[in-house]
Symmetry: C2
Subunit: 452 residues, 2 copies
Amino acid sequence: MTASRSTALHTDRYELTMLDAALRDGTADRRCVFELFGRRLSAGRRFGVVAGTGRLLSLIRDFRFGDDELRFLRDERVVDAATLDFLEVYRFTGSITGYREGELYFPGSPILTVEGTFAEAVVLETLALSVLNHDSAVATAAARMSVAAGDRPLSEMGSRRAGEESAVAAARAAYIAGFGATSNLEAGRAWGIPTMGTAAHAWTLLHDTEEEAFRSQIEALGTDTTLLVDTYDTREGVATAIRVAGTDLGGVRIDSGDLPLVAAEVRAQLDELGATGTRITVTSDLDEYAIAALAASPVDSYGVGTSVVTGSGTPTAGMVYKLVARQDSAGAWVAVAKASTDKASKGGRKAAFRTLDRGTATSELIVVSDGFEDLATAASHRDARSLQVTLMTDGEPDAAFEGHEGVEAAREHHAFAREELPVRGLALSKSDPAIPTVYADAADSAHLASDS
Amino acid sequence: MTASRSTALHTDRYELTMLDAALRDGTADRRCVFELFGRRLSAGRRFGVVAGTGRLLSLIRDFRFGDDELRFLRDERVVDAATLDFLEVYRFTGSITGYREGELYFPGSPILTVEGTFAEAVVLETLALSVLNHDSAVATAAARMSVAAGDRPLSEMGSRRAGEESAVAAARAAYIAGFGATSNLEAGRAWGIPTMGTAAHAWTLLHDTEEEAFRSQIEALGTDTTLLVDTYDTREGVATAIRVAGTDLGGVRIDSGDLPLVAAEVRAQLDELGATGTRITVTSDLDEYAIAALAASPVDSYGVGTSVVTGSGTPTAGMVYKLVARQDSAGAWVAVAKASTDKASKGGRKAAFRTLDRGTATSELIVVSDGFEDLATAASHRDARSLQVTLMTDGEPDAAFEGHEGVEAAREHHAFAREELPVRGLALSKSDPAIPTVYADAADSAHLASDS
């Protein structure tokens, strides 16, 4: 068994050195607003998918410094004694509002807004970004595959191509974005995701003949199982499969070769043998483009590995966590932002809305405020859907977003949000975001300036 | 605190369905040899770096099915009652030999050889691949960055761009491959890796002026700290930094802009101000190519984030875990391999050697055997270094490869192995592997056929 561990050291050292210095100079208690957002969508994607939120809420609750963590920080002289005292009783007591898990996002979308003192909010940066950047990258790729697959079921089976814990998170993110099952048993246990899988090539190689392997598998798993037919010769494999299982065989899996060609050959052979109901699953190095290319092939379901768990070329969503507003020494709120030209960001607290025209999204409307007026109502006169919900209050997560229930809610919300996209937003080719990001000033929400 | 968890469900469901069927048909007890290897190097890389071995050995020891795991498997009907009984007392009791952590690898290198019954060895596939594929992808990218950086120190600071647990593994892998420190505190605690970091832009933005932020940081961390100077205007930031800290300031960090240009300007300004000993650290979206391009710039150290933790375009090493030999029903050993054309592999147990010419590597020599003759001596007459060591015996890891000690040994071994590469093997451009993989038959090791 792995040792019980706090999440508190999943943190870049500079978060704690800043905390240390802030406790000395009195700025630690300044109320702050940090925002987690992406400056752009990666690789010409037309939308991003928020994932990881439910995981993050639980991890933030577990973000406590125990004896082990404090001893390490003391021994390594990362912080001084006063800071150790602060950390010993630390828990995040602030609030988090943000996009629902499964929601779509666009450049500048305020995915999370974290409010609290500087001290309590700054230390969450690394953990929040680790979770959201990884999970959202996977979910975004998975959603594109789900679009490409249409009504055909998709299974995630890439655990072996991702770090062992990230693999579980990846299975969860893919499920939220439209996959139907995973090979990863821990994802089944931890998140309630349906698990699948029957046999690998090792199963056939273990036996003296392919026929023995198939016969044994059917005895154990029944005729409705899926037999892997490409270990030696696919045509012989299919013939053996039907000879052993009969024409009621559930499915065959093909894991190599030129898939459109092989799928067509296998379908014809199955039909010829009378196994017209036997399904074909393909699993060899698929990504969204390969899936799209198989749309006209007689394939019944897809298994996707490497490409989904690695974000199909974009393994991290590139989101950042930035201080956007804080109190000054007199307690007044100030919007702040880095000024450097290539990494500039927009200061101020934000409210976000998806404007709609007869149910189809037309823009990501972000209302910026220097102060704290009621942003939630600032743009409510428009035909728009408010995108932010309260995720955490006084450091306590809203239970609806956690656990198995949170995963199912996220999956449903994703399907709902994707329905709002204009059709061009679903294309796989590189392009601009499906809808523009439009900024407005809370003081004058009628005056909208495009900033896409 | 996160709950104590077994690693046993970090497993694809089909490993357990195969186990279930094998326990029924009597093949579960057949002795087997599984091999973990890469068919090719990714993206025109000239060498790969093995990483994750030390982590994996500990995780395999923790691969036990407790009440939680068994309950899940029973409730989900993944396996039958007999298999649950088997899993309840399961521990891996076999042996693992393989490449030392930090070693270089090439196409076909037998990185791990796992021996045991089919039942006990097949279930380790997913976990072994998750760990080795992730960690080796990071280490391989890190080694290229280390080559590009030459004598300048490299720090890993990409935790926020990787899943929260993979981030720790990535820090460890980068350190093994030549990085000197990490921002990740958990990597410091868990693996003894030096940690670093001072302040982010939020630190400057928190304060009413940049000067106040710098003054406070110096009071907390001393004059030898590194000040981040690009929040507003880099030229003013540098001037403020030296005005506040004096010419003994340890360093300045630049995180944006055209780095060769900015580094030269900052160096000139620092020298002009008399701060000739103040170091320059750059940290903006660096990869091995950007580092190489800065070789002639006045930069003292590099901080690398996204690109190293995501394997610089190759987030997974693409290794596979294949059954290569097994006993038949009469107990005789049989070499086995999948025959499909695009994923064929080479059956049989293997011994691996790096042949050398006056200390420079000339080939990866892999001696294949259908049986179990003493492969370790098969090629010992050559000028060659044997690449395999015993990592685990009767299910117990060799302690020298685990924990902090294992990390330090791996880092040393990597530096040693990299020294053997021919100079062309260190170039960053895409090419064939630095040395060819040469297969030989144990029965006739004088007759060597190239298979590169």
